[in-house]
Amino acid sequence: MNRVVITGMGVLSACGNSVDVFWDHLSAGRSGLAPLTRLAPERVANNVAGEVRDFHSSQHFGKQGELLDRFAQLALVATRQALADAGLPARFGEAAEGPPATRVGVYTGSALGGAESQDTAYQQLYAKGASRVHPFSIPRCMMNAPSAHISMETGAQGPCLAVSTACASATHALGEAMRWLRAGMVDVVLAGGCDAPLSYGVIKAWEAMRVLAPAGDRPQAACRPFSMDRSGMVLAEGAAMFVLETEAHARGRGARVRAELAGYGASADAGHITQPTVRGPLRAMQLAMQEAGFSAASLDYINAHGTGTRLNDSTEIAAIRELLGPHATQVSISSTKSMLGHAMGASGGLELAACVLALEHQLVPPTANFQAPDPECDLDVTPNVARARRVEAVLSNSFAFGGLNAVLALRRS
């Protein structure tokens, strides 16, 4: 079985549109959450979100942009960043260097697909009484649009898939892509997640679930995972794409290895459509640790799913307690959703990027906006201030509605 490494990454998020700006935010505990700019404030109950700012289709795309919903636009730009970061050509199979195009796969995850395009089309039909919608509505909305466009733009001709497992989509995509590389199906995979769910319809649907945090006086601090006064999640958008390679391929071309993707655990609660269990997330973490060869004592950092809802956070801490036993108090835990918001299908990718940077900088990004400890979340959740410490072995957790759990294990390379 091949070892798998990360050689490139690209991010667009509420905390910036490059890896460097993203880390400036996260390492400083600086939230990117703010009042919505794309909707009139009176139309939403909780006027706070994690928007990708200063991103316009025309900056990045010509005519092609008309075919792309925002979620695919974000994925394509993140992919361009990741390829440049990995020192790979922007297009496979045309330059002498780089892998053959047929040995490059694509795997993306998204929870909601082309939500904005769908909203626009339905608004035409239902609100404006139109009898037709734009003919690009289907190609814009389809869940596999990002992976297809990535393959078209980069020339990657290997397997090309999209997965949709709600809030674990990116993590599942990355884990499954790792399996391809382990098995030798391909040498390189462009993998990650994207979502742009800040459409009126999607926001209202989340409002109806009553899990969104109120904006309050300080919208940037609306998401307070693990804090006693936490009041829910904050919707966000973004994309995070990675270049994954077999270690042999990466070493063979002299690539800089950012981290080893050492393990992946996937499990289903087989329980409730929205209420999490302890045992499902626990088993996903155990499987990822097992594959990576991590012991409880060797684990340094867990980037938690940490949505900021009452139920998720306490259940996740209980699962970590059971996972690590007496070592649970030694591990650093944080929720970067406190700064990024919950970018749905992109969130696991953004959080994996945070983990790679934590390994590189030997610094655990904090859980921002932390006010007071909750006895039900009484582990070290790295409140408010980043912690310099040994970071060699890391888990990144994503637990989706439906009880679908995915965990990635990263090792310092």
Binding site: G62, K63, H134, P135, F136, P139
Partner: protein
């Protein structure tokens, strides 16, 4: 000298295809202009929106040149006006 409707069609296609109107000859085919099937449905949509008409699928499928678009459009407009 082209008629006004042909000029309007050329302007619409130029906008949708991001081409300069003066490179589109009234005799050009979609193939000449590298207009693929997806571009084609987009152009039909733009015409429907502009003239507030409905172009049936079987008519749309026959549109493979500027001339065919103009003729089909004129027939639709005449029918709508009649």
């Amino acid at each position: 000298m082209t008629d006004p409707l042909t000029e309007e069609v050329i302007a619409i296609i130029a906008k949708e295809q991001r081409l300069a109107p003066d490179v589109i000859s009234p005799e050009a085919t979609f193939q000449d202009l590298k207009i693929d099937s997806l571009d084609g449905v987009n152009i039909v949509f733009a015409l429907e929106e502009k003239y507030n008409i409905t172009i049936p699928d079987q008519v749309a499928r026959e549109m493979r040149s500027i001339r065919q678009v103009v003729d089909a459009l004129r027939a639709q407009l005449d029918a709508a006006g009649a």
